[in-house]
Symmetry: C2
Subunit: 200 residues, 2 copies
């Protein structure tokens, strides 16, 4: 008879093991850690997860994670400065917010163009970005995308798609290492790259 974790613990480990960056072993370690501290941390984590699962959604305008239909950044009139910073992912938006250098609004693509993975412009909220240019009197679109092949392919696609609108399109310049994912950079590097942005 094999008598490892009980069914509910096994289900918890299996679910955890599917999370990005985790696997069966790290999931087992986390679950055992939580069981040992169960008076507090596990119930707290469960209720935090349940709360966020209930309330979190995508901002209808920019794709940011939020608890209302429109996120606080899109609601804030002080951030309607004519600049939209385009990011791949909400994690990149958070990284830029930590840098505190950008005062405008965001547009979260939700991924990069990829012929291999069959991800086209419609999968990436690019049509919504084009619509915002006119609606929000945008003067500059900053493409804060990764310095990877996919990121730069996406940047060039967007720059071409925005050309008829006459909006200035810039990209993060110095500071983003080749092959570097934005979310891996320290906040100072990301801020410097933003300040030194160049016209594409």
């Amino acid at each position: 008879m094999n008598s490892g974790p009980s069914d509910d613990i096994e289900a918890l480990i299996t679910t955890m093991a599917r999370l990005p960056g985790l696997g069966p072993r790290s999931a087992r370690r986390i679950v055992l850690h939580l069981i040992r501290k169960r008076a507090g941390q596990m119930a707290q984590l469960a209720s935090l997860l349940a709360g966020v699962a209930e309330s979190a959604r995508e901002c209808l305008t920019c794709g940011n994670v939020t608890q209302s239909d429109i996120c606080p950044i899109c609601q804030d009139p002080a951030r309607a400065n004519g600049e939209i910073c385009v990011v791949t992912d909400v994690a990149d938006l958070w990284a830029l917010e930590r840098g505190r250098a950008f005062k405008g609004r965001y547009h979260v693509l939700g991924g990069s163009l990829s012929a291999l993975d069959e991800i086209g412009p419609e999968d990436l909220r690019i049509p919504q970005l084009i619509a915002r240019i006119a609606d929000e009197h945008v003067t500059e679109v900053i493409l804060a995308l990764a310095a990877t092949v996919e990121g730069q392919t996406t940047a060039h696609y967007i720059a071409e798609a925005l050309e008829p609108s006459g909006v200035t399109v810039t990209g993060l310049a110095q500071g983003v290492p080749i092959g570097g994912e934005l979310d891996y950079l320290d906040d100072g590097t990301i801020t410097a790259a933003l300040r030194a942005r160049r016209k594409i």
Copy 2:
């Protein structure tokens, strides 16, 4: 104005980031992943965590994680074969169960002796182990402890403490690499080490 994650998402990230093997960046990635799949995975994870937080406890006899006062292994009469396998942690017990080679019962120490961390025998359920030798007609105690300094110090302490009882004390022999933690080994190695166990 800095507008990163909302307060409840930030609290979730902070709590996740404290889990073993995680940090702020991996916690952010996991939380965003869960938010994207929120229809399913996040609520499911929350309810699994709440269920385990409610039901999981330590077996009063062996220290295994269980949902009743006494774990299924300690309740199973077929496993009262006179052998007790002493492990550092429940993760090691699970690793041995995956190997399916051990047919007896376990005793989970909950750590290793450490002068530096002021962890003594009373902190490790060693008195409870000594009590079990008489109560359960134990004939062999297998010390399945890590081949680290702390693991071997603990093994020698237990072997000496059990000497008056006359019980045979064995240890995992071949297959456990020097400095190796049990839970990192593949299941075949751990099974081979168990089969080739030697008297200490």
